[in-house]
């Protein structure tokens, strides 16, 4: 069966490398499903889970904090500022981050920049918790 090479790269180094028969990701414009031989494509991603369906029929979840996806016929590269494989997520830490973000969000409603940042952090934390429970 044809497979496609997948790598998830962050500034702190590669997070995931492997082969897959399909990759699905959530781009800003909507859900993307990528099979081997896809035309070259670049798209920004939302804070979400990238799902890598590997040859044995198993699905790997990788939490990404935005970034973008670059697709070539034989290779998919995801560049995100932070990414974690579902198995590596520390749920306690994500919960703590979620609480912190919620507190910040509740305490300063006037400062729009800070609020936006807190909301962003909240989204990231919820995404991680979500994915960690799926594994």
């Amino acid at each position: 069966m044809k497979t496609i090479q997948v790598s998830v790269v962050t500034p702190d180094g590669p997070v995931f490398e492997g082969n897959a028969k399909m990759v699905s990701a959530k781009a800003k414009s909507g859900e993307l499903g990528i099979l081997p031989g896809h035309i070259p494509l670049v798209a920004p991603l939302t804070i979400s889970a990238v799902r890598v369906h590997d040859v044995d029929g198993k699905t790997q979840y990788v939490a990404v904090s935005g970034g973008f996806i670059e697709v070539r016929p034989e290779k998919v590269t995801i560049l995100a500022e932070a990414a974690e494989i579902a198995g590596d997520i520390e749920v306690d830490r994500a919960r703590a981050a979620k609480e912190r973000a919620e507190q910040r969000l509740a305490s300063n409603k006037q400062d729009s920049l800070d609020a936006a940042r807190a909301e962003f952090a909240l989204k990231r934390a919820m995404n991680r918790i979500d994915i960690a429970t799926k594994r």
């Binding site: 500034p11 702190d12 800003k28 070259p40 670049v42 920004p44 970034g67 973008f68 070539r72």
Partner: protein, 283 residues
Amino acid sequence: MALKDIKARIDSTKKTMQITKAMEMVSAAKLNRAEQNAKSFGPYVDKIQEVVGSIASGSNAKHSMLLTRPVKKTGYFVVTADRGLAGAYNSNILRHVYRTIQERHKSADEYALIVIGKVGVNFFKSRKMSILDSITGVADQPSFAEIKAIASKAVGLYADGTFDELYMYYNHFVSAIQSDLTEKKLLPLTDIAATKSKSSYEYEPSEDEILEVLLPQYAESLIYGALLDAKAAEHASRMTAMRNATDNANELIGQLNLSYNRERQAAITQEITEIVGGVAALE
């Protein structure tokens, strides 16, 4: 000098040498790690550069971060260390930045400073230059999350027009004994190499919207890359400085030992002369 004094100096120099030697070894280990970090960061920035290059070359997409605009205010992003004992590492950068600012600007309204590292912060504070933003206490092996805030702030300040160009100053790591002072124009991103990409991409939804995400991420990654580079250079120059200190201490100990022995000999000779003299007087 009396024998006892020389002995005391030898002992204290030996202790100093032990410390400098330990610091040298610690820095060597940190340098190793820093080089590894820089290596694992490589693929990320290469890939971003490739995609940015292919978009920039293949289209007429215009984004504010790509366009040069009239300069009213210049931003300076200066990377220094938190501690000294690293040879000329900090003073090189600070002297250069200070001189550049004096040459280029007449008033304090024309420039803004963003500083990493305690040494830099103290330097500019003592010269009454206002610092827009700073972070200190960056880990020896910084993670991206740690500098994300200051990097995105720097990029944001450019985007909202606080300054119209941004220069970055840091020491580029060349080898364990050499690092080069580097001045890099970070924003606007004028020097994106229009790479001939193997594949022309489909853009989803559009080039402009991708640039909106991609360019800030690219600029931030450049800042992070520079910081990793600077950290490697810092550890390297601290290692070299400490090795020099150890060598100097060794040399000093040699000299002190020599004069200690000479003094001891002199004392013995004198004692013998006194005894012989005493015996002669008795006869």
